[in-house]
């Protein structure tokens, strides 16, 4: 393992120090591991908090800012944050109108956020949680912990953030977040596994002719190992899975996301194929993101996320946002 780090123990702390130095718009509490908006939230606005393991940057800290999150709680690499930390983030996000927790569906995240929500209620902060679970790779049945929350989380954070910025109350913000999640599906394929610094070797080993199909964002092995194929076939595979689950139609918001080590030139190529596939299925790419938005350390591969937009969601997507990683309209 060769990594640009001081030591596995300091990776998260070092990154938070760098985030603080790079973005004066953020208040980064390195010791308690809470990233929040410098100056705090606008009074009366519903607060938005998310968090999860580190290693997915820019998620979530890079999405703190106007029109998106008010605070984020980054855990250790690939490990959910702890309740006290989430509580602190919740307190910093609270501006008197309650706080929405956006939680990716993993047992650890769900449990730690649930405990934090209970602690927050003790402090008289009303908390509503929305759990994202957009990964079409996982069967949503009683035989699993349910679907994982993956790329759709970025869309939920942006759109719910716009609703909150626009003055919606906590239940309305939660409702729109839930709606985005329900209308969203993702699927990911990895070409090379990433390496958790503390583990020192890749999460799984792939031969030159293998890919991991339906991989998660934590270097978990996927549901199946497949054969390496030209990019257009991998894109079609991913979109077929999504389509089988939530038929592709209408105006779509599309993210073609890199897992961390796949260069932009390849992601744009993959997006060209995804667009062709989607249009070939009679739907429209109304809005898109191409780049590294929810990563898995130095894993290579892509994920594709589709959301069925409606007029309200489109308007909220287009609303101004100003965060380190997503910025337009101001």
């Amino acid at each position: 393992m060769k990594k640009l780090i001081n030591s596995p123990d300091t990776v998260v702390t070092d990154a938070l120090r760098g985030l603080a130095a790079a973005h004066p718009s953020l208040e980064v509490d390195v010791e308690n591991r809470v990233i929040s908006l410098a100056g705090g939230p606008r009074q009366g606005k519903v607060g938005l908090v998310s968090g999860g393991g580190s290693g997915h940057e820019p998620l979530h800290g890079g999405y703190v800012g106007y029109g998106m999150l008010d605070a984020a709680a980054p855990g250790e690499v690939y490990t959910s944050p702890v309740p006290d930390q989430i509580l602190l983030a919740t307190q910093r996000a609270d501006a008197g109108a309650g706080v929405l927790h956006i939680v990716k569906n993993y047992t650890g995240d769900v449990l730690n956020f649930r405990m934090a929500a209970e602690l927050a209620e003790d402090e008289d902060i009303r908390v509503v949680s929305v759990v994202t679970n957009d990964d079409a790779a996982v069967e949503d049945s009683t035989y699993t912990a349910g679907r994982r929350g993956v790329g759709g989380t970025v869309f939920v954070e942006k759109i719910a953030g716009a609703a909150a910025e626009g003055g919606a109350d906590l239940d309305a913000v939660a409702a729109v977040a839930t709606r985005v999640n329900e209308r969203t599906r993702s699927f990911a394929i990895a070409l090379h596994a990433g390496t958790v610094p503390a583990a020192g070797k890749p999460g799984f080993a792939l031969e030159e002719n293998e890919v991991e199909l339906g991989v998660g964002i934590h270097g978990e092995p996927g549901r199946e190992r497949g054969s390496m194929a030209p990019m257009n076939e991998l894109i079609a595979y991913a979109l077929d899975v999504i389509h089988a689950d939530l038929p592709v139609s209408g105006n779509l918001l599309v993210m073609l996301n890199g897992q961390g080590a796949t260069p932009l030139i390849e992601l744009y190529g993959a997006f060209a194929e995804a667009t062709a596939w989607i249009e070939g299925h009679g739907a429209t790419v109304a809005r898109s993101l191409v780049g590294n938005y929810i990563t898995s350390l130095d894993q290579s591969g892509f994920s594709v996320t589709l959301t069925q937009l409606d007029d309200e969601l489109l308007r909220l997507w287009d609303a101004p946002v100003s965060t380190p990683a997503l910025r337009w309209g101001r």
Partner: protein
């Protein structure tokens, strides 16, 4: 002598030591069917538990477990942090004010641990989680305790049962936690949480022996 303050502290200390010694193994188990952090998580959590005890100097075995549980919740993260942390807190509360719990009292505390985990995580035995080790262990402990066995004997049976439960997770397909995402590919591996539970119960048997 039963489960007194000193024994409770020794349990947590020993647990921290053995988990630290086996960190790499727990991590490897988690890398195979999860995300490879279970070893680091528990080391962090148990280190916090030990530090919390040193700082708070709890004066009853119940308090020891409550303080340990708080430390684990506060520092572990992941699925295992809230599960183990709440479990120990609940076990500590079940012990009440007693300064020296007997086998029956400790059995009830272990039962409370199990209940806490099942309530939070809603896993049943057979789902390939820590419950597969803890469930049989608690039953073995309480069966013996109900028959009037000594606390050391009950703890030894519990440790053995936990290890058997761990072994029994190998052929199972996971239905809870991160390993469930693998579907059939989760078969053929020990569950990391069951492995750490087996370590905790072996530590209990050691410190009560």
């Amino acid at each position: 002598m039963g489960f007194d303050t000193e024994t409770a502290v020794a349990w947590i200390d020993t647990a921290a030591t053995v988990v630290k010694a086996d960190e790499a193994r727990l991590t490897a188990l988690d890398a195979a069917i999860g995300d490879g952090d279970h070893g680091a998580n528990l080391v962090r959590g148990l280190t916090a538990a030990v530090a919390g005890i040193a700082e708070k100097e709890p004066s009853t075995p119940g308090e020891v477990l409550v303080v340990a549980g708080r430390g684990i919740v506060a520092k572990t993260g992941g699925a295992s942090g809230p599960l183990y942390g709440s479990a120990l807190r609940r076990a500590g509360k079940a012990l009440g004010d007693t300064t020296d719990a007997d086998a029956v009292q400790l059995g009830a505390a272990l039962e409370a641990m199990l209940t806490a985990i099942v309530e939070l995580g809603s896993a049943a035995e057979g789902d390939k989680t820590m419950v597969d080790a803890l469930g049989p262990a608690v039953r073995a402990f309480n069966d013996l305790a109900a028959d009037g066995a000594s606390l050391p004997a009950a703890a030894l049976a519990a440790a053995d049962a936990a290890e058997a439960g761990l072994a029994a997770t190998i052929p199972l397909q996971a239905r809870k936690g991160r390993a469930s995402y693998l579907g059939p590919r989760s078969v053929g591996h020990e569950d990391p949480g069951a492995a750490s539970t087996a370590l905790l119960l072996r530590a209990l048997a050691e410190v009560t022996a």
